[in-house]
């Protein structure tokens, strides 16, 4: 291993541990643990949201996807970005005004029912576990490549680090690790993009002309259709991306870390600008990698294209830049999984233990203890599952997470805030029908069954044609909520009046 790589790697570890040390001193209550006491400012939270969002999958994955598939890789960037308009216009402010720690809190501000809370917690935990395994398996493979260490050690390092942050520093540590990482990541992106552009004398047109001859796709590289040839599949994917984000638990949780809806809004604005600039830059990374590294070399390093960005850094900036980008990638992985652990732990400890089992009567000490045990439990469980999944193709887990978020969580959020007639049974139906349809359809899809060995989890013919079933499962989630509501006679317009007033005015008193 290159000594520069080792030094930067250790520097990241040391920096995050210092953050955790100071955060631990400030983490005194469950509120601090889950939501940093609601004390983050708009720009801090905005950067932390950007940090949560710009996972290794978007940083390394999209750069690779653009390098390999040209325009089609850019679809991800667009979908991930526009998703923030859904968050900003429809979700962020009512969520902040109604919720406390979790998605279930927000829904239960309208329906005080255990089954709704249970269903919401179930959906959160499912998303978190699947997403986490995908991140950890990807992280293990990547760190294995970057630092030349065995997979299981890589997973253990990431797993132990994330556990330390969350266990001791809770949301304060997680947020500051996110913020640090977001700044480092943006710096890395700007440096690489600047060098790439400099090579073309800052003439973007020249870069487009050059990339036309750089890949085996020729001029087609610049046209849509290299990867996504099935129209419905493409649209379904875009639907999952744009609606799924607004239902991902670790993103939703970030809106409870600020003091009011106004701050939630300003954090979405900071996040949207940061994420937007980031995704524009993915274009220069992708093109740069296609030109200066070459597709065959990118594919040789990792068949998913995940090494495109680090290899580009090496090609244009030598060892130092490679080491820096690798260290940033490592920080990225750590920060995202820490956020996931926290949102999983909140569903277990706050929703299931605190509210359902203890009926909201747990003491502060019991809650804190439960939160820490849950964090430890979620960490250990996902580390064990990830160690076992090394040789499995887990790409479908990410699309599954987005699909469940779009099909189960988003419908229930929108109905809770905007539909007067909505009721308890509608909430349970929306959550369960979205969750189950996403699970069932993905398990029958080409990303789980492929006739080509190794291309998916199992060998066989897929029963359902779309990799990403959002086009079907999102309507099922919405219809489930609709029918669940109208088949039950229950309604409470008085409670809805309260929810509506609170959601729109931010009034939090009794």
């Amino acid at each position: 291993m290159d000594p520069v790589v080792v030094i930067l790697f250790l520097a990241i570890v040391a920096l995050t541990l210092v953050i955790t040390y100071f955060a631990a001193k400030r983490t005194k209550s469950t509120g601090d643990f889950y939501t940093a006491g609601g004390g983050l400012t708009g720009w801090q939270n905005g950067l932390a949201i950007a940090g949560d969002y710009l996972s290794a999958a978007s940083f390394l994955g999209i750069a690779g996807a653009i390098a390999l598939n040209g325009f089609d890789g850019f679809f991800y960037s667009i979908g991930f970005l526009i998703a923030y308009l859904v968050v900003l216009l429809l979700v962020a402010e009512p969520l902040r005004n109604l919720g406390k720690y979790t998605l279930a809190d927000m829904i239960n501000s309208r329906f005080n029912a255990k089954r709704v809370r249970g269903a919401a917690a179930l959906s959160t935990i499912t998303i978190v576990l699947f997403y986490m395994i995908a991140q950890l398996v990807g992280a293990g493979a990547l760190i294995q490549l970057l630092f030349d260490i065995p997979y299981w050690i890589a997973v253990l390092i990431v797993g132990v680090m994330m556990t330390i942050y969350v266990l001791f520093g809770g949301m304060i540590a997680t947020s500051w690790v996110q913020i640090t990482k977001a700044v480092l990541l943006m710096a890395g992106m700007v440096i690489i993009s600047f060098i790439v552009l400099m090579k073309f004398n800052f003439n973007i047109g020249a870069m487009f002309t050059e990339v036309k001859t750089a890949t085996s796709h020729g001029a087609d590289y610049l046209n849509p259709g290299i990867k996504y040839t099935d129209p419905l599949g493409t649209i379904s994917l875009m639907l999952a991306l744009v609606l799924g984000t607004a239902g991902l638990p670790h993103i939703l949780m970030r809106f409870f870390t600020v003091k009011d809806a106004k701050t939630a809004r300003s954090s979405v604005i900071t996040a949207t600008w940061t994420i937007g600039i980031f995704y524009i830059l993915t274009l220069f990374l992708g093109f740069g990698a296609a030109i200066y590294v070459g597709q065959s070399e990118i594919l040789a390093a990792n068949s998913g294209g995940n090494m495109a960005a680090p290899l580009l850094a090496e090609a244009i900036g030598g060892n130092i830049l490679f080491a820096f980008i690798s260290a940033v990638a490592f920080a990225t992985i750590l920060a995202v999984v820490a956020g996931l652990v926290l949102s999983g732990a909140s569903a277990f400890a706050h929703d299931i233990y605190g509210e359902i089992i203890k009926k909201g009567k747990a003491t502060e000490r019991e809650q804190m203890l439960a939160a820490r045990y849950a964090a430890l439990g979620v960490s250990v469980l996902s580390i064990v599952l990830s160690l076992g999944a090394q040789y499995l193709n887990v790409a479908f887990l990410v699309s599954l997470a987005f699909c469940i978020a779009a099909s189960a969580n988003l419908p229930v959020i929108l109905y809770t805030v905007y539909w007067k007639r909505f009721n308890t049974s509608g909430a349970v139906w929306a959550l369960l029908s979205g969750l189950i349809s996403a699970l069932v359809l993905v398990s029958m899809s080409p990303s789980v069954f492929s006739p080509v060995e190794g291309a998916a989890l199992f060998v066989g013919n897929p029963i359902f044609p779309l990799d990403n079933p959002a086009l079907v499962s999102v309507p099922i989630g919405f219809l489930g909520g609709y029918f669940g509501t109208v088949f039950s006679k229950e309604y409470d317009f008085k409670k809805y009046a309260e929810v509506k007033v609170r959601a729109n005015t931010g009034y939090r008193g009794q």
């Binding site: 216009l89 047109g205 949207t272 005015t505």
Partner: protein, 115 residues
């Protein structure tokens, strides 16, 4: 705006949210919000889905605009610009919503609570 009955009823623990909700002030706030959010949401979703739909069902976006840069790329970058523009417009709009919301809380909810 004097609303004596409302004020009298408001002993903090018992706010009549239905009354607040049916007040002209609150109705106006909801109307203003709806007038902005609904068309904006429809607009950005349509604009967004037009991209994959037109690249999937046609090739007309593959015509070059500037040198080798085609309409597909211009459309893609337009998505970013649209996002930032809507963000900025929304913030301006939301500040006026905030003012109205604060006024509703002050005049209709909290006033009664102090009694």
């Amino acid at each position: 705006m004097a609303q004596p009955k409302l004020v009298r009823e408001h002993k903090k623990e018992n706010i009549d949210f239905e009354k607040v909700e049916s007040s002209p002030q609150f109705k106006r706030l909801m109307e203003n919000k709806k007038k902005f959010i609904v068309p904006m949401t429809i607009f950005f979703l349509v604009f967004y889905f037009l991209l994959p739909i037109s690249t999937s069902y046609g090739t007309f976006l593959n015509t070059p605009v500037f040198g080798d840069i085609t309409w597909a790329w211009v459309f893609a970058v337009a998505q970013f610009i649209m996002t930032w523009v809507i963000c900025s417009v929304y913030v301006k709009k939301a500040n006026t919503f905030d003012k109205d919301a604060d006024q509703i809380v002050r005049e209709q909810i909290e006033e009664g609570g102090n009694a």
